[in-house]
């Protein structure tokens, strides 16, 4: 009951944040620059510019312009994306977002699957060499230029592996188009690996899986560092507590103490860092998707930059803000559920 009230309150608190976000994109597009400038070419006459201004309400005072801006946004008119042949921004997002969502989800799963065990081992073997190496590795995660790491991954796992006669991984795209043509895929969620698995289309599944490994691993690198660091420190905290001493004193094996007793409590703070890590993952998307030619919204944003596609970049920004805010809301609610002490806070 109280949890529901907490969720409702958090949802209401989202409104000013999301309004503020649109206020920022509005300021960027209407105050920093003249929105008409995107219509200007060498042959645009001043009279025509005035007409455009009038037609779009750009001769009105700024608060009124903001009102129109919000009306358009809420009605689903996010403008057209120049870098995508003038398609509506929302159509572009609908087409490209599944690819990014798939990449981000796999990347987050990798972060959890690698970061939690690493952090645990590091805490259990505190100040041993495993710990030192892990801590250094984790710190290098937040210092890593992921676009560079992506090229190095391609160099090793694709180019060098092929030279050495080992099975090499693809470096571009989401799936081998020839495989996809031979085994047509029924679209359910838009995620190639998920859809092909559910419809038992194994050739496409294998191709999609091998295509996603390198970009997902690259994108996961920073997050692995974050998850490892937080798991280590919360594990150290938990291992000092009385109930762990008791579990050890009654003769339980180390494995049971760590993985059954300690990890359950140590993992709760890790959950909150996953929310932050989603932010890093989304921020890394334009870089990693560009390196791996991954046809998602990140690569779209990168292309939009090069063709001064302001509507595209703003659409991308608002979408990332929405996703980030929603993920953090879910994380907070899950945290409140798992840790009843914060529920009323």
């Amino acid at each position: 009951m109280i949890l529901w009230r907490y969720v409702a309150r958090r949802l209401i608190l989202l409104v000013p944040v999301l309004l503020g976000l649109t206020l920022i994109t509005f300021t960027i597009t209407h105050v920093f620059t003249d929105p008409v400038s995107s219509y200007v070419s060498g042959r645009t006459t001043p009279q025509l510019l005035e007409q455009i201004r009038k037609a779009y309400g750009l001769n009105q005072p700024l608060p009124i312009q903001y009102y129109y801006y919000m009306v358009h946004l809420l009605a689903g008119d996010w403008g057209v994306s120049r870098s995508q042949a003038g398609q509506p921004v929302l159509t572009v997002i609908a087409n490209l977002f599944p690819a990014t969502a798939e990449l981000a989800i796999v990347s987050i799963l990798i972060q959890i699957a690698v970061g939690i065990p690493l952090g645990t081992i590091s805490a259990v073997r505190k100040d041993k060499w495993v710990d030192h190496i892990t801590r250094f590795f984790a710190l290098s995660g937040v210092s890593m230029p992921v676009f560079w790491l992506g090229f190095l991954m391609q160099l090793l796992f694709s180019y060098q592996f092929r030279l050495w006669g080992l099975p090499s991984l693809p470096t571009t795209g989401r799936v081998d188009q020839l495989v996809l043509q031979a085994h047509p895929l029924q679209t359910i969620t838009g995620s190639y690996s998920f859809d092909s698995l559910v419809t038992l289309n194994f050739p496409v599944f294998l191709s999609a899986l091998s295509s996603i490994i390198l970009p997902a691993l690259t994108l996961a690198f920073t997050g692995i560092g974050l998850v490892t660091r937080i798991t280590r420190s919360s594990m150290l905290e938990v291992l000092r507590q009385d109930y762990i001493v008791l579990a050890r004193a009654k003769g339980l094996p180390q494995r049971v103490v760590i993985y059954k007793h300690a990890l359950k409590n140590a993992i709760i703070p890790t959950l909150t860092i996953v929310g932050i890590s989603v932010g890093y993952t989304l921020a890394g998307a334009p870089l990693v998707e560009t390196v791996f030619s991954w046809p998602g919204i990140g690569r779209w944003a990168a292309l939009a930059i090069l063709s001064d596609d302001v509507a595209g970049i703003m659409g991308f920004t608002i979408l990332v803000g929405l996703v980030f805010v929603m993920v953090n809301l879910i994380v907070d609610v899950a945290y409140a559920y798992l840790n009843p002490r914060v529920r009323l806070g």
């Binding site: 000013p16 944040v17 999301l18 503020g20 976000l21 206020l23 920022i24 994109t25 960027i28 597009t29 920093f32 620059t33 801590r135 250094f136 710190l139 290098s140 937040v142 210092s143 890593m144 230029p145 992921v146 676009f147 560079w148 790491l149 090229f151 190095l152 391609q154 160099l155 180019y159 932010g279 890093y280 989304l282 921020a283 334009p286 870089l287 560009t290 390196v291 944003a301 990168a302 939009a304 930059i305 090069l306 001064d308 302001v310 970049i313 703003m314 991308f316 920004t317 990332v320 803000g321 980030f324 805010v325």
Partner: protein, 293 residues
């Protein structure tokens, strides 16, 4: 005499503090590594015109795409540029961006945060809601959005990053001011007749400056990463400029056959960013009394 004694005492305490901090510093290997890396890179960047063996802007096609040798320590790229020389000049540029962004962001954030924290009430509330909005989008993405309309120039890049990098300072200093405001020494200063401005500037700010320093050090590393990332995508400097992210982008098509052309510029980003992060982490442990052992 009566005025002199407490001054000496204060100095003595400060000195003891400093000695203890230096002792803690000597104990921490990773912090020392961080200092060594950051200092070396900064000195090399500063001395680039003297240290760099070749010009960063005059191509020499006779020696293009050569692997590392003694005459070209990190090899040469597709234009015959000496990569070592270009990395040094690129460090100069990237550190310039990072310092400009962090100083702009920190000063703006500290002034705003201290003001809001001290005044309190509606001013404080609205500033905090404003920072909430900035935290609703990852900084790199927000910087990308701002840079998109400021144009793909050096100044556009610095401005965009500075606009997105101030809120953490505002929050940090506001929290500190709120903590310090309730302390006895502030009441004492007030009772002694000090005005609000004097209290904030002379008493509260000096006592809350360490966390800002730590945050700024960590941010230098993050800003270098962000700036390199944005330049990689095409913001900031023109293609061909010695900037680390730009160098990776410009040479990326040569990665398979001539790996050193992007391996070293990218490694250079990792090294300085890691050095600053190690330094920042270490400083936090040393300067934060709560973390002292």
């Amino acid at each position: 005499m009566r005025r002199g004694t407490p001054r000496n005492k204060e100095l003595e305490i400060r000195l003891r503090e400093l000695k203890y901090s230096l002792y803690l510093l000597r104990q921490s290997l990773l912090t020392k590594v961080g200092i060594a890396i950051s200092a070396t890179v900064m000195v090399l960047a500063l001395l680039a015109p003297i240290v760099a063996p070749y010009s960063p802007t005059t191509p020499n096609f006779a020696v293009k795409l050569q692997p590392p040798t003694f005459s070209h320590l990190l090899g040469t790229d597709q234009f015959g540029f000496d990569i070592f020389s270009r990395v040094l000049y690129a460090y100069r540029l990237d550190l310039e961006i990072a310092f400009a962004v962090v100083i702009l962001g920190a000063v703006f954030g500290v002034v705003l945060g201290a003001f809001a924290g001290y005044v309190g009430g509606k001013t404080d509330e609205s500033l905090m809601r404003l920072t909430d909005i900035f935290f609703a989008v990852p900084s790199l993405i927000l910087a990308l959005a701002v840079a998109a309309v400021l144009g793909r120039t050096f100044n556009g890049l610095v401005t965009a990053l500075a606009i997105t990098w101030w809120p953490s300072y505002a929050r940090l200093i506001r929290g500190e001011v709120l903590t310090q405001k309730g302390k006895l020494y502030v009441d004492a200063a007030k009772a002694a007749g000090a005005g609000s401005r004097r209290i904030v500037l002379r008493h509260v700010l000096p006592n809350s400056i360490y966390p800002v320093l730590v945050n700024a050090t960590l941010d230098l590393g993050q800003v270098i990463l962000a700036a390199a990332g944005l330049s990689f995508l095409g913001f900031g400097v023109q293609p061909g400029t010695p900037e680390l992210g730009r160098m990776v982008a410009d040479s990326s098509s040569y990665v398979f056959n001539y790996p050193w052309v992007i391996a070293f510029p990218g490694l250079a980003i990792l090294v300085i960013s890691l050095g600053l992060n190690l330094l920042g982490d270490g400083l936090r442990d040393i300067l934060d009394p709560r973390l002292r052992r």
